[in-house]
């Protein structure tokens, strides 16, 4: 079984190939709905991959990553509200805003660990939520329409197929970078810090500084997803920052396979796909979806990708997989 054809290796390329066909298939079937439906999945996959950098590689259980989705979304909506439609300005606000907020919150939150870290990140997200709800000038709880979608020269993110292409490209680049980063010095040091931060310090690196950098990168990438979401919905609202969205992002990462490269993409696809599928079946879809998540937590050892790798290991035992860390 040559390495390339191994399911876990071939999973991502196949996935991206299929996702690339969706807009064409949707156009062929006069079903534009599927383009925006899958665009939303791509965007949440970007957010989940961003969270995976902090949560999977770094072991930082952030329960407030929806805050960065909100920051990214409002980084598009606010300039647009004041008449600025240039995508570059939106991108600048989004990346700068996401990085700044992530840096500040990360610096404070990393003073704690374990349960306290989970709670302090949740606290910052709730603060952001209440702040936006009370900003009457920008629509507060009722949200704010995006007056001008981000335009990069001829590329107008207002149209669904264009947005789909951009989201697909961003996810591809991010996922590819994640696979490289995982084995790069920064990724290895970060994953080492998750296993034993004291040892990493004793070797000559500063584990807290690595974790802060990872948290900031993760927040910025998540803000990027928020900006794309604002363009998809042409509307932003504080409820996209509620704690249940942070919870859903965590579920997607863990469901897909935490700490793996393909995990977040698979997790977003299965989570949102299953949600839509079950909605079609019954109005009380949550009564089915809840237990499913419980079962996955109890039996899915390391998510879908972990399950595929375990299956593959039992079917075609590979030579000692170099550099294939478990979690």
């Amino acid at each position: 079984m040559t390495d390339l054809l191994r399911p876990s290796r071939a999973l991502l390329p196949l996935l991206f190939l299929l996702l690339a066909c969706v807009p064409f298939a949707a156009a062929a079937a006069q079903q534009p709905f599927w383009t925006s439906f899958f665009a939303r999945i791509l965007i949440y996959a970007i957010a989940a991959s961003a969270l995976n950098l902090a949560l999977g590689y770094g072991g930082l259980v952030s329960f407030g990553h929806a805050l960065f989705l909100g920051v990214g979304a409002y980084a598009v909506a606010l300039p647009a509200f004041h008449g600025i439609g240039s995508g570059w300005v939106h991108l600048l606000f989004c990346l700068a805003g996401g990085a700044a907020v992530a840096l500040v919150i990360g610096a404070i939150s990393l003073r704690t660990s374990g349960m306290a870290f989970i709670m302090i990140t949740l606290a910052f997200a709730q603060m952001g939520y209440f702040l936006l709800v009370s900003l009457k000038f920008y629509g507060g709880d009722d949200g704010l329409p995006v007056a001008a979608p981000s335009r990069f020269g001829a590329l107008d993110l207002g149209s669904a197929p264009v947005l789909y292409g951009v989201a697909w490209a961003v996810l591809l680049v991010l996922t590819w970078w994640m696979s490289r980063l995982r084995a790069a010095p920064f990724g290895m040091a970060l994953r080492a810090a998750r296993q034993n931060a004291r040892r990493v310090d004793a070797m000559g690196l500063q584990s807290r500084r690595l974790q802060l950098a990872a948290f900031t990168l993760s927040g910025t990438a998540c803000a990027l997803a928020g900006a794309l979401l604002a363009n998809l919905n042409a509307f932003v609202s504080p409820s996209s920052m509620s704690w249940s969205v942070s919870g859903e992002l965590i579920v997607m990462v863990v469901l897909g396979g935490i700490g793996t490269v393909a995990g977040p993409v698979m997790g977003a696809l299965v989570f949102l796909g299953l949600e839509e599928g079950l909605k079609g079946v019954t109005e009380h879809w949550m009564a089915l979806f809840g237990p499913l998540i419980v079962l996955m937590a109890m039996f899915g050892r390391r998510g879908i990708v972990g399950w595929i790798e375990a299956l593959e290991q039992s079917r075609w035992p590979a030579r000692a997989g170099a550099g294939r860390g478990r979690r």
């Binding site: 080492a192 296993q195 004291r198 040892r199 310090d201 070797m203 170099a322």
Partner: protein
């Protein structure tokens, strides 16, 4: 190869004095052993030297520089590296990755986001060299979690060596090892003697007397006596402590 001196090093835990005005002088290239009964404060002393514990008093000079206030990572980058009594290797990484990360951490920096760690020639070379020195090159690709206990102790050592240290603090490298494994590590340390300055904390007396240029005896946090292995063997008080007569 670096030297290390401590002047009146003290460490209190609340009212308890664990390190009591210790004065050590370790010359470049020397293998200096520190022995003493359990609870003598050996590991505390090493933690003070490596920077993981902040000393309550006194000074630590490394290669002539006062490093008392330095943080752990700063001392490590200066070449003052340690191994741990309780093995703490990265179980999810392979043996080679553990060593390469150690090499990279001491010499280079981790702010590389694209090229793989193992593609860094200097780090990889230092790692492979350290694995050869500790006899682990056959297990380069095995995840550290799957190693036997003895092999993990060897990896612990390999990670210290991979960082090309200028001073090695070894905290009971032979702990929990069989006689045959200890003999192997002793031969290994014999090979390192002239290349690094080493402070060895160990209970295995055969290894200590085979390796040490000089030996210091630590009892209840106080440095009782420093001398050549022969002087230590004949020294009445040292025998008393080890053979059980209580001190006055």
């Amino acid at each position: 190869m670096a030297s290390l001196q401590t002047t009146d090093l003290v460490k209190h835990f609340g009212g308890l004095t664990v390190t009591d005005r210790v004065c050590l002088d370790i010359r470049p290239g020397e293998l200096h052993a520190v022995i003493g009964p359990n609870g003598a404060g050996k590991t505390t002393l090493i933690n003070q030297l490596s920077g993981e514990l902040r000393s309550s008093g006194g000074a630590v000079r490394f290669d002539g520089q006062d490093v008392t206030g330095w943080a752990v990572h700063r001392r490590a980058r200066a070449g003052l590296l340690r191994s741990y009594q309780i093995t703490s290797v990265f179980e999810e990484f392979t043996v080679l990755e553990n060593a390469a990360l150690a090499a990279r951490a001491a010499r280079g920096h981790a702010w590389r986001f694209w090229r793989p760690l193992l593609a860094d020639p200097t780090a990889r070379a230092a790692a492979e060299e350290a694995l050869r020195a500790t006899g682990l090159e056959a297990h380069a690709g095995t995840p550290a979690g799957e190693l036997a206990y003895g092999q993990r102790r060897q990896l612990e050592l390999a990670m210290a060596l991979a960082a090309q240290p200028r001073f090695l603090l070894l905290d009971e490298p032979m702990a929990g090892m069989s006689v045959q494994e200890s003999a192997e590590v002793t031969r290994l340390l014999q090979g390192l003697k002239r290349r690094y300055t080493i402070l060895l904390v160990e209970h295995d007396m055969d290894a200590v007397f085979a390796l040490a240029d000089r030996i210091s005896v630590l009892v209840y946090g106080r440095l009782m006596f420093t001398g050549s292995p022969e002087e230590i063997r004949e020294h009445p008080e040292v025998r008393a402590v080890y053979l059980g007569e209580e001190l006055d």
